[in-house]
Subunit: 176 residues, 2 copies
């Protein structure tokens, strides 16, 4: 399995140009089931989702930030949000890490299915969050974590360059 996971992990990249090929509800549910398998503090699984296929909503969301324009062309948008009121107070501070792990599961599964994706951060930008909530009718007490654009890419976009990992051994500053 090592070869396969590395291939998928290397293949995943930010995609910004989507074709008009659609994504089925079965595919969407597979992606969200993959998100559910992520680790979370005390297995709290805090994430909830809104699936956005409506063109009007995708366009309205994409207009909120310059770099979000790919969302308007995507087949499906996802909004990941949490209800921190349901979260034990000692673990609230970890919810963004939980949601990020779930997001990575979704993006990797999409890559494995040949579906391109773009992670658009919302939390902790409160202004952006309020605008997203307004469009998607998310109650004030919820916390929006991010948006994810999904779709098939139209051209083979290049993955951004990765540098070599910076690694120390046993303690900070010590090389191997």
């Amino acid at each position: 399995m090592e070869r396969e996971i590395l291939e998928i992990i290397r293949k995943r990249k930010s995609v910004r140009k989507f074709s008009d090929r659609t994504i089925s509800d079965v595919q969407i549910k597979t992606l969200l089931e993959a998100g559910q398998q992520a680790p979370s503090v005390r297995n709290g699984q805090p994430w909830q989702y809104i699936v956005i296929k409506n063109q009007e909503n995708k366009r309205a969301l994409s207009a909120l930030k310059g770099s979000w324009h790919p969302l308007s062309q995507s087949a499906v948008g996802l909004c990941m949000f949490v209800d921190l009121q349901e979260y034990p107070s000692t673990h609230k501070e970890f919810f963004a890490q939980d949601c990020a792990a779930a997001t990575e599961n979704i993006l990797l599964t999409a890559a494995a299915m040949g579906i391109g994706s773009l992670w658009m951060g919302v939390y902790p930008n409160v202004t952006l969050e309020m605008a997203v909530k307004n469009i998607l009718k998310v109650p004030a007490e919820k916390t929006v974590f991010n948006l994810i654009a999904l779709g098939y890419e139209t051209e083979n976009e290049r993955k951004a360059h990765r540098k070599e990992p910076i690694i120390y051994w046993e303690c900070y500053g010590r090389s191997q």
Copy 2:
């Protein structure tokens, strides 16, 4: 590839009982290269690593928190940290999401290699962070994100139950 990624994602779980089987430096570098492939804000790749094989350091770290006891039995500990001074100020707030995505890549790659793992959150617990920094000689201006214990499991530990994903369609509160 869809079948393989779902199998790996479902297989990944928190492992707390490790055998004394070792993990090679080649395996460690493969895991960190997988982490490097994660998405990050503006491709900042903020994560850096300390690899901990020294038993004394693993034991000292494991003593910092009750739930960290598995680290003392693990083959290798990883400490992920960042230097927020090098980070553009507008993107500082996203570093924990970047690091969480890189962590998930590492955990999934470990699972695919048959290696068990445990994610131990540090950030934003400042008291815990200072204690970790002290043991690993991490300079004050760096920010420790988490510790990861890696090793082969001794028994087939159960993965914690996953609930069904909570999904709304088009806007909050609307079922399919």
